[in-house]
């Protein structure tokens, strides 16, 4: 046995990954970046008609965001291309600088999840998935992919999951969180069955415009409101999954709620449980209290970080929901992203840190993070 072997013992496996970022947004410089991954039919279609959503503007989201491209102002590459479009910059500014061992890609732009033309949506989803593999995952093995599928046509979505399951580097399945019907509804179940079958968690990042007002009381005026309403749509999403019985039917299904904060998790559980006795006869398919499904099948990402008035209230919130339910996410390079070094304003034990920054993500994604 040589002395060098003694000095450098193999790292125990569980210490290999120290920091997992469960939400990183890569983007294209322009739609043309997807051309190599699309047929001529869809290239021409997109060049001519562009993408079509349930909203007024050709090239803006319905509510102008806080910053151009939703981005941190320091995340623009020197050549002016969009933040998140330059792998070298992402490596330098984020992966290397923050010591990210694994990063989950969440392509949000271009949007394909809620494109109105179903075949076009599938074509763009396929292109985004292949583009992730070729331009991000292969050159940078720290990054893991998200299979983006268009949920309104479950057949097409399932076919895309099957296709991508054969490729390397994907860790989860994403669909739009504001679909035409709430995600617990039966028309989407086949997608979840396919995800479970292939061992993929669902990564559900707030996204999409289904044409419904973003609040039950109508559309707000301000981004200040809309941004929060979109976050709250994730509360309704979790409710729909549970009360429609999705985790009852698919106990193995893992749902990671991304970019919705987490302080609402325990209060949502209390509210659902508090009403359970009144509505039990309406949901005879539920065999457990709603909170038990929430506790068993759901996880939350940390971003946007909760900022209570007193730091110890953050600990209370985490105690209520369970420290094993929460995984770190930066949301790089978006304006409301969190820095892993500054996000937590409380002292945490080594075990708590280990869980939030890596262990819990490993429990969710298992081998797919390797």
């Amino acid at each position: 046995m040589s002395s060098s072997t003694l000095q450098a013992p193999a790292k125990p496996k569980d210490a290999a990954i120290k920091l997992v970022d469960c939400d990183i947004h890569p983007t294209v410089r322009s739609l043309k970046d997807l051309h190599p991954y699309m047929s001529a039919r869809w290239r021409e279609h997109l060049d001519t008609f562009g993408q079509r959503f349930r909203q007024a503007f050709v090239a803006s989201t319905a509510f102008p965001k806080a910053t151009p491209q939703l981005a941190r102002r320091d995340a623009w590459p020197e050549d002016g291309s969009p933040p998140g479009s330059d792998l070298a910059m992402m490596q330098r500014q984020h992966l290397d600088a923050n010591g990210i061992d694994r990063g989950m890609l969440f392509p949000l732009f271009p949007r394909a999840l809620d494109e109105r033309n179903i075949e076009c949506a599938h074509a763009v989803c396929r292109a985004i998935n292949d583009w992730q593999v070729a331009e991000w995952i292969e050159p940078e093995p720290r990054l893991k992919g998200t299979i983006t599928v268009m949920a309104e046509d479950a057949d097409g979505a399932v076919a895309e999951i099957e296709r991508c399951a054969k490729l390397k580097g994907f860790a989860q399945v994403a669909l739009v969180t504001r679909p035409i019907e709430p995600l617990g509804r039966k028309r989407y179940w086949r997608i979840y069955e396919a995800a479970v079958h292939h061992g993929f968690p669902l990564g559900l990042h707030n996204s999409g415009n289904n044409g419904h007002a973003v609040t039950a009381g109508g559309s707000p005026s301000f981004y200040f409101e809309e941004h929060q309403a979109v976050s709250m749509s994730l509360h309704a999403m979790a409710t729909s999954f549970i009360l429609e019985g999705v985790p009852e039917r698919l106990p193995e299904l893992k749902i990671v709620v991304v970019e919705g904060g987490f302080a609402w998790a325990a209060p949502l559980a209390w509210r659902m449980d508090g009403l359970f006795d009144r509505f039990r006869s309406e949901v005879p398919h539920l065999k457990m209290k709603p909170s038990e499904y929430l506790r068993r099948n759901f996880w939350w990402t940390t971003q946007p970080m909760e900022e209570p008035e007193k730091p110890e209230q953050l600990r209370q919130t985490l105690d209520w929901m369970g420290w094993d339910r929460i995984v770190f996410a930066s949301d790089y390079p978006h304006w409301d992203s969190d820095d892993p070094r500054h996000a937590f304003k409380i002292r945490m034990s080594e075990a708590e840190k280990r869980g939030i920054f890596a262990g819990n993500a490993e429990a969710i994604y298992g081998e797919r993070l390797a």
Partner: protein, 355 residues
């Protein structure tokens, strides 16, 4: 009877049930009487509280042959006398504010208010009521406020939690101007005119889901009132949330304040954090149905919400929000002490005139 008897309890949310249009008919003018008869206009209970759904009435308050809470005698025996209520505020949930025709909606609201005055307020002087208004048309809504505001037994204005447009939006402001002028708080009650899907994600399958997700609708309405500047423009206006639950407040405060710090330049008339504004200007009806069962967690939650003077004790009669004969069960005395009398009196200036 529970320990709240003989405290001068004020119950801030009681629901008299309209038996049907037939009962309201005498309170319409002849034109509308003819229309209602000729077209068979009826069945306007709101879909959030179907009469037979468990949440709509406690089993022991159901009387065969009539809707729960539809007679004064039932209400007296089951709630007013049973709980020793010294003042009870009636919030009548019926279809007027949800009708698409603003004219018909206004007529139904007017008849509802007249029915409440004649058949409830005139019959039991413990009772007070909210004015229901046709939000569909601001001018008609203000007319309705002006019609009833001189009757000091009407102590607030009632809105549903979801109408055509968010309640902060400026088309509604004449309503708030009238409310402020007459010292009438604005109450927002769970329930919807169903102009939009009940969630941002579309239409859920179950009533259960509608009720769970209404927490988001209340939050959206508060954000609208804050962001549009209602609290800035009408400094004396108070807002009351009814059957909203309260456990969502801390996460709402934290997120709202975080967003305000980043985006306040979009709404520069908002010069305090959403948490500070809500604590100062909004009151919440109180029951235990959405609270954590663990008392230690409940203490932490209430501490996070901050302040014991934001709550208005309510039975929600005849809605099934608690069991047994002590509606205050599970709430700590310090909180209840204020919620049962002091905070209602501070919230409703008109209650003080007659207590």
């Amino acid at each position: 009877m529970g320990h709240i008897a003989a405290t001068g309890l004020i119950d801030c949310d009681i629901h008299p049930a309209v038996p049907g249009m037939k009962a309201l008919l005498p309170y319409f003018d002849v034109h509308w009487q003819e229309v209602i008869d000729a077209r068979g206009v009826d069945g306007l209970d709101l879909a959030y509280y179907p009469p037979n759904a468990p949440v709509s009435a406690r089993p022991d308050w159901r009387v065969p042959g009539r809707k729960a809470g539809s007679t004064l005698a039932d209400m007296q025996a089951q709630a007013l006398d049973a709980f020793g209520i010294s003042r009870g505020i009636l919030n009548c949930l019926y279809g007027g504010p949800a009708m698409y025709s603003a004219d018909l909606g206004a007529a139904i609201c007017c008849a509802t208010n007249a029915w409440v005055a004649a058949e409830w307020l005139d019959q039991d002087d413990r009772l007070r009521a909210s004015i229901v208004i046709p939000v569909q048309n601001t001018e008609l809504a203000v007319d309705e406020i002006e019609r009833w505001a001189p009757d000091r037994r009407f102590v607030q204005i009632l809105l549903l939690g979801a109408h055509e447009s968010l309640l902060g939006q400026r088309e509604h402001w004449p309503i708030y101007k009238a409310a402020e002028k007459h010292g009438l708080p604005i109450a927002i009650h769970a329930g919807s005119a169903m102009r939009h899907a009940p969630t941002a994600n579309g239409w859920p399958s179950t009533l259960y889901e509608d009720h769970v997700s209404f927490a988001q609708t209340f939050q959206s309405q508060l954000l609208s009132l804050i962001a549009e500047g209602v609290f800035t423009k009408f400094p004396a206006l108070r807002v009351v949330l009814l059957e909203s639950g309260i456990s969502w407040l801390p996460s709402f405060f934290w997120r709202g304040t975080k967003m305000w710090r980043g985006m306040r330049k979009e709404i520069p008339w908002v010069d305090a954090s959403p948490a500070a504004i809500v604590r100062d200007r909004v009151r919440f009806s109180l029951q235990t149905w959405d609270l954590p069962p663990d008392p230690a967690q409940l203490d932490q939650l209430l501490e996070q919400i901050g302040g014991d003077d934001n709550f208005l004790f309510s039975t929600y009669y005849p809605h099934w929000r608690f069991d047994g004969d002590d509606p205050s069960r599970g709430l700590r005395p310090a909180l209840l002490g204020k919620a049962m009398r002091e905070t209602p009196l501070a919230t409703y200036p008109r209650l003080k005139e007659t207590v």
